[in-house]
Symmetry: none
Subunit: 216 residues, 4 copies
Amino acid sequence: MTVPGASTASAPSGPPSAETPCSRPPGRPRDTRASHAITEAALRQLADVGYANLSMESVAGEAGVSRATVYRRFRDKADLVTAAIAANGGGDLPDTPSADPKGDLVSYLEEFDERFAESCLEVLGALVGAREEPHALALHRDRVISPRNAYARSLLEEAQRRGELSPQADLELALQMVAGSVFYRRVSGADSSPGWAKRAVHAIWESMGPLSSRRP
Amino acid sequence: MTVPGASTASAPSGPPSAETPCSRPPGRPRDTRASHAITEAALRQLADVGYANLSMESVAGEAGVSRATVYRRFRDKADLVTAAIAANGGGDLPDTPSADPKGDLVSYLEEFDERFAESCLEVLGALVGAREEPHALALHRDRVISPRNAYARSLLEEAQRRGELSPQADLELALQMVAGSVFYRRVSGADSSPGWAKRAVHAIWESMGPLSSRRP
Amino acid sequence: MTVPGASTASAPSGPPSAETPCSRPPGRPRDTRASHAITEAALRQLADVGYANLSMESVAGEAGVSRATVYRRFRDKADLVTAAIAANGGGDLPDTPSADPKGDLVSYLEEFDERFAESCLEVLGALVGAREEPHALALHRDRVISPRNAYARSLLEEAQRRGELSPQADLELALQMVAGSVFYRRVSGADSSPGWAKRAVHAIWESMGPLSSRRP
Amino acid sequence: MTVPGASTASAPSGPPSAETPCSRPPGRPRDTRASHAITEAALRQLADVGYANLSMESVAGEAGVSRATVYRRFRDKADLVTAAIAANGGGDLPDTPSADPKGDLVSYLEEFDERFAESCLEVLGALVGAREEPHALALHRDRVISPRNAYARSLLEEAQRRGELSPQADLELALQMVAGSVFYRRVSGADSSPGWAKRAVHAIWESMGPLSSRRP
DNA sequence: AACTAATCGAGACGGTACGTCCTGTCTTTGA
DNA sequence: TCAAAGACAGGACGTACCGTCTCGATTAGTT
């Protein structure tokens, strides 16, 4: 609120983000270990009991921390979970240009399916459902969805640049279809036959390859 | 819908013993108008305030009914919402074989996007989240997802039969991609450019058409 | 209500009380066996689970009868219990003049302590508590308390007549003290040392005997 | 009553570990005003509408407090009422030895009759009725009955010491008879003729006086 | 033999209270 | 300042009764 250190960060007075050289804010600094413990506990609970059954109390308890300490860092359950996914859940997207866009896309999909799809679905469900507070939804998109979206899209663009996909290919659509198939499997409860990711990506390459629209 | 006996048989009140096809179950029959009012109120609230903010009390109130009357029909909030979507939300899937599978698939996608995608996402999020009670999730899949899934699949099969899709085409994958793209748009917050459904279906036709794998 | 047969009895159209010779009311007569089963079940439950935990449903169930059948006979839980105690619980007060008032009073107290004190206390507690419906309280007093009161009093009067108690003795007070001691033991949780009844009655005889006020 | 720490310690919130006699327990202390308001509201409602019709909600409402705040202090309706009677209902038993045991006993009876008999009867009825949870009954006896019992008994003992009652007098019986008469009047609905308490006590003095058993 | 009128079983209905749980805010003491 | 502990208002949950009601199916006596 009245924090000097600006910070685009999550919620009530995010951590002073280290790189700002200004003199530290007065008073006792926040316990970094607590912060970690909290997000980790949140992730564990999210996986174990699900978003709805995750309670601030139990997260605080599992983190060995008082409830107030959680609320000082995260304004909301939504904020907490969102931030936890973003922070401890995956900061590991390569940003060097890919040498094998198609293969990388496949790997990316598989990893996403395994690590994010489930919790993303429930968190998103909850956030979409919470009318009158779109901030958390926006936050989650910013923190979790967008980066991955951008990464996947960059792979598609690279493929286009290399001529594997037609210059007219609708990459947005491609992205939606291939990423959506991950979600839909969760939605419908279909079990993933091995190689699903490869086949999905292949289908896109087939339909959006350089010759796709020139068939007789 | 307006059938008096043989109700949707959600949770409490098992089916009337099957072998007596006609004789009404003993006791005072349920008030059909109340049943309607309840599911309709549930749907309205689901659309208005979302799954999380929907309360049994307010549904009962809006339906002009006591809370007990709701719980007599639906064991749960999950059960209520699930059944409401299934019942009053859409009993309108054509079951005659399609004359134009591709066009029908497009229309179906558009209708689904408009009428179900949002609430389905939040309901599914909530249900997937509710570990330790998969019954509601299974129910929702049975009541809402599966029928539509089957319908869409039948369109794809018809297309295959007509030779629009290759006999080797992976229809399951096709379904996942095209239906998933609907969800993913909600997930990522992307706004739908007009014609998205047509383009998505077209992409599948492109990649799984009869000649798709014989290209040079 | 619209019953011809008058009947001072309990509640909604009591049984036609047999001795009225008028032609039986039309329609199916009440099942006498059910009536018995109900009051007996009520008594059992009263003893087993107490007044508060006794439910109309469980009484009906134990009696092998539907709930409506209970409510047709008794307007109320209070009415049911009250009537049950009065009916099946004790119609066995001797009305011949006593040959040994003191001894009979002792026996009476012991029997009352054993068979009525407990349930009487809770029923009375509930009925006294139920402001705005004194009918049940009055009923219970009429049906259960008053007859026993009168009996005990008649014993005291007989004792007075025989000269065992002074003509000036305050029999009302005597009754209250000796009967009250039964209740108070339940209230305070004191366990009854054997001979309590004898000692209590003896104390009254001591204090209200023919010579009691003439002591030096 | 107005003691800040060391509360009546009804149910939740165990005593502050006894061995630290002073240091306040951690966390925000309970709102003393709320505590008062609650017990007072409970007493008022107990008097007004009776035990059965007293609801936690209405007590909370009348106390200007949320329901949770009531449940934080009292685990139960029984616990609440019991504690309310014990706390705000009477902390006014003299503990100095009496100079006039007989007169004091009379006054005590009259006060008890007026202030406690009614609610005691219904509360006790309810508690005795609630099998399978004797804790509340025990509590009520500890908090309300026992202290008064002890007081009355001390008066009797003082009288014995002074020679007004015989050394062999059965004080327990005396207590039961004189206190019981208070209850029995409520039970039987008899209205108290003035002087009842004096007459009851007098009867005991008569029968248990120093000469009572030596009469010819 | 049909009609009438009450009973019976079964269960729906409105209403009310219960006790539990969780959220997000607040008020303490102590570090 | 932060941290730990916990009180607080508010509100939903699902359960359990109560007393009333509406059904169809019985079961008598009456016409």
